[in-house]
């Protein structure tokens, strides 16, 4: 800054905070000129990401994902349903994204956040169209019983890039999911087998004798970027999202095939080159996320 005494430095600091509040766009543009962001990240780098599996003990599969300060808690509970006639050997997945009032000052108890149903729909589209889950693995007795997996994702702290963190938490929860061993009892209901030998008709399918995991192929990973004039900022914080309003979300699967591209309007109309740059940034990010997820899974298995 300048060479001033202690009181001069203090007033210099307060001016920065006030400038950030009053003229946020100019504050960010001063940083972008130097190719850096206020939290000292280069433009293409995402925030520190961590994944922890098994966060919820009462759920059949769960995970907590943190990207910077954005925290998501995903849990899967399995219940038994009667499959519909046209897909009698398939189970089903119901995905729901919640933003409880604790996560952000803009959410009120009576009025849910505007972005919550948008992210919820994006999530179910991305997970189902990526083909990560083979629904036939969720079947129990063809035509009579199948698993319904209720995936609930709660945002515990909202600081930008909600979709990325939610997708990461959902994918991690599915890789942690263990289907319990079940039998059909005399009333025709499916019940969980307890440890001791109980009388009951065992299902003919040997797969259900013990706990098993789903096989996941083509796992989707995503990155949200913000476009502003000629700059592309990867993984925005909530402040950046509110100041620069053109997000682009790219979802790629583990073999770098495009699952979904989402650009909901915004003041910047992007040329093909900008979109290709976003996809390239996402490709890099997919490699990082794959490593983080496989480290988390192997940590679980060591325990």
């Amino acid at each position: 800054m300048g060479s001033s005494g202690a009181s001069g430095d203090l007033s210099g600091e307060m001016e920065v905070d006030a400038f950030r509040r009053l003229f946020p766009l100019r504050f960010y543009e001063r940083h972008l000129l130097e190719s850096v962001r206020p939290d000292a990240r280069p433009l293409g780098r995402a925030r520190d990401t961590t994944v922890a599996l098994g966060a919820v003990a009462t759920a059949d599969g769960s995970a907590m994902a943190k990207i910077g300060c954005t925290t998501m808690l995903a849990a899967i509970k399995l219940e038994v349903m009667t499959p519909p006639l046209d897909s009698s050997d398939e189970g089903s997945v119901a995905i729901d994204f919640h933003m409880p009032p604790i996560c952000s000052p803009i959410v009120r108890p009576g009025r849910p956040a505007e972005v919550a149903p948008v992210v919820s729909k994006q999530l179910s589209d991305a997970i189902i169209s990526s083909g990560m889950i083979n629904l036939k693995e969720l079947s129990l007795v063809s035509g009579k019983a199948a698993w319904m997996a209720y995936l609930d994702i709660y945002c515990l702290d909202a600081d930008g890039a909600l979709f990325d963190a939610a997708l990461l938490a959902a994918v991690a929860a599915f890789s942690h999911l263990q289907i319990p061993a079940v039998t059909v009892n005399d009333d025709g209901r499916v019940v969980i087998m307890s440890g001791e030998n109980e009388e009951g008709k065992l299902l003919k399918d040997p797969v259900n004798k013990e706990k098993r995991k789903l096989t996941l192929t083509c796992i989707p990973f995503s990155l949200t970027c913000i476009l502003h004039k000629n700059y592309i900022l990867a993984d925005p914080t909530a402040e950046e999202e509110s100041v620069m309003e053109t997000p682009v979300t790219v979802v790629l699967d583990s073999s770098s095939r495009l699952v979904s591209l989402y650009k909901p309007g915004g003041p910047v109309l992007a040329y093909m080159s900008a979109v290709q740059d976003c996809v390239a940034l996402t490709r890099q990010r997919v490699k990082e996320l794959q490593k983080i997820l496989s480290d988390a899974i192997s940590d679980m298995e060591v325990d």
């Binding site: 919820v56 003990a57 009462t58 759920a59 769960s62 300060c69 925290t71 808690l73 849990a75 509970k77 399995l78 219940e79 038994v80 349903m81 009667t82 519909p84 089903s92 997945v93 119901a94 729901d96 919640h98 409880p100 009032p101 604790i102 996560c103 952000s104 000052p105 108890p109 179910s124 189902i128 629904l135 319904m148 209720y150 609930d152 709660y154 515990l156 702290d157 909202a158 600081d159 319990p180 079940v182 209901r189 499916v190 019940v191 969980i192 307890s194 909530a238």
Partner: protein, 204 residues
């Protein structure tokens, strides 16, 4: 997947139904299932600063009961509210769908929000923030019993983390039969040491 049908399919949980609860006070030498003494609380884990987006927040874990509380404010009251020369307190308690063993049972506790309000309003110095509202939101992540006391204790810790002026911290313990006040004072000591730790950590 539920694209076609408008109504969700009915599902049931495959967990075995609860066995009939045996009467527990039959035996004079009865011990609690987790081996605790009659006047003993579960070991507590308390941490402030759980949520970055909130003015103050706290996370509490008492055995299997896990709760996060965020405090926002003091911030502008809703336009419909009339002028008030003391502050307002707004509380809300909600459950996650996976908090209870049976999915979706948390909505049975709608009265917790007003009970939390009654517990906290006596301790907060409402005159220190006239015309504005302090919002206290709680989310129960896992319900392992004694939920409301954990929410109240965690909420007063979050209010202290937010810097809201209070006469004192509010602690809460639920008891089944006898009245026990020293459990509350022990809990108060634990909470004060947690706040001291958080304050000294931020000074470093």
């Amino acid at each position: 997947m539920s694209g076609k049908t408008a109504t969700a399919p009915t599902t049931y949980s495959p967990s075995p139904t609860q066995k009939k609860r045996q009467p527990i006070f039959k035996d004079v030498d009865w011990i609690r299932p987790d081996g605790r003494g009659f006047h003993q609380c579960r070991p507590a884990f308390l941490r402030t600063g759980a949520v970055n987006a909130a003015a103050g927040s706290a996370y509490a874990e008492f055995g299997n009961t896990k709760v996060i509380v965020s405090v926002f404010g003091p911030r502008e009251s809703k336009k419909a509210m009339m002028y008030s020369d003391i502050g307002r307190l707004n509380c809300n308690v909600s459950y996650t769908t996976f908090a209870t063993p049976v999915r979706g049972q948390g909505s049975d506790h709608k009265e917790f929000s007003s009970m939390l309000h009654k517990a906290l309003e006596g301790a907060i110095i409402l005159e220190s923030f006239p015309k504005t509202t302090v919002d206290v939101f709680a989310l129960v992540l896992e319900s392992g019993g004694s939920d409301l006391p954990v929410v109240i204790s965690c909420a007063s810790l979050a209010l202290a983390d937010a810097g809201i002026m209070m006469y004192d911290l509010v602690t809460s313990v639920s008891v089944a039969v006898e009245l026990c006040l020293d459990a509350c004072s022990k809990l108060g000591d634990v909470m004060r040491s947690c706040l001291k730790e958080a304050a000294s950590a931020s000074q470093e």
